[in-house]
Point group: C2
Chain length 240, copies 2
Amino acid sequence: MDNPLALKLSSFTDLSGGDLAALDAVIGTPILRDAHSDLIQDGERPEKVILLLRGWACRYKVLEDGSKQIIAYLVPGDLCDPHVFILDAMDHSIGLLTDAALAFISRDAIIHLTDCCPKIARALWWSTLVDEAVLRHWLVNLGQRDAFDRVAHLFCELWDRLRQVGLKEDDELEVPLTQEQIGDTMALTTVHVNRVIQRMRTEGLVSIKRKKIRVHDLPRLRELCGYDPSYLHLRRRSQL
Amino acid sequence: MDNPLALKLSSFTDLSGGDLAALDAVIGTPILRDAHSDLIQDGERPEKVILLLRGWACRYKVLEDGSKQIIAYLVPGDLCDPHVFILDAMDHSIGLLTDAALAFISRDAIIHLTDCCPKIARALWWSTLVDEAVLRHWLVNLGQRDAFDRVAHLFCELWDRLRQVGLKEDDELEVPLTQEQIGDTMALTTVHVNRVIQRMRTEGLVSIKRKKIRVHDLPRLRELCGYDPSYLHLRRRSQL
DNA sequence: CGCTTCATTGACCCAAATCAATCTACGTGG
DNA sequence: CCACGTAGATTGATTTGGGTCAATGAAGCG
């Protein structure tokens, strides 16, 4: 299966052949975009739903004083706001962190998809609820945890999310983020992110290869920061 | 109109008489509960959707080390997670901050309501998207703003949300929260919240009457903290 | 080879935390 | 009616995690 959305939704529900075909149909020809371009900007009115097929993106908000907060990461298989048409205008931007392949899905196609395939509708709901749970978890991170635990939690979460869409077969995680981006995510300065990662490195938890951070020792990282992945709701509700 | 949910949804869409009747029907006899009790706890599986009719509640998460983060406030008219049945278990708790009146709505009643009344279904969707926008805004607050601005933003938001459900006719806002609760919300210690509020008091922005904080000078508070309420999406999308 | 983008390091600073008392207003039982 | 207990608000002294500022590497690239 090379449709990361289908793969992600499958981790929640059993999709039929028809469901899978419907999910493939909405994608069409992938559109390629370069890193650092914005998919949609704060204040714009979205006309399409964006599905990320390859690469990484993020939601972010820039304040008047120039400070920036990354609000969420989008990885392959993530669909931004299937029901965003209801609102008037975006209250944040979505930008690409890497080169990416995208599918732009029209409002009508989304409506058709959910009307035809109740399982998909339900699975998209689930996905939306998980996105919200992740947001709540980030809020708890920023509010209550120190710098080390914040960064460690981020790595643990990305590990689990990438594994869910089949992008992690090995036992290492490669993080394609600059230390500045990690800082904008966890509300730390580049300098401090660097010091945290230094510490992780001297403790043998991560290493740097070609400017990319690699996480080796996930079990110990999890234990050190008290990570509990239940908020990702990776298991489906038993009776469904 | 004494149904705060109907009032809230009306601010987004025009509800018919039938819609209003349907919304009244799901409420039934309000249930009274005392402050400080939990409506649902972390790890439990919700069986009913909770509608808050009177009083204040909050979502919160307690960490292993005992620290607590308030994740959201629920005020009259707020419905928690209309689609929470999809998930396996709660990843946070919901507790009452004041004495309250509630309606517990069954899963079937929610499904019936949304199946019969497409306008209500859409308005509930809108409400869910606004909740998520508020959460994103809080994340930006915790990550990028200093103590004064965080507390000021909270007051401004509560002002707008209460006005939306008809609980604010005068030009003052009474905040029924302890300084400790404000601290747990904005990730500050009680001591520091107190100092921030002292400052607001000496600058004539708020006052304390009978242990309740009262906000007088909203315009200046808004200006001082750079508050922009667009994230609450109080205006409906024009063409709907 | 010179840019440019990231990563790294050191010296110093500050907003907010911590610790530790008070103070105040209620509410309650006697 | 009052002494007492308790939750919450205040205040002061001190500490600290992380920020700020300012260079210095180091790798990739046109």
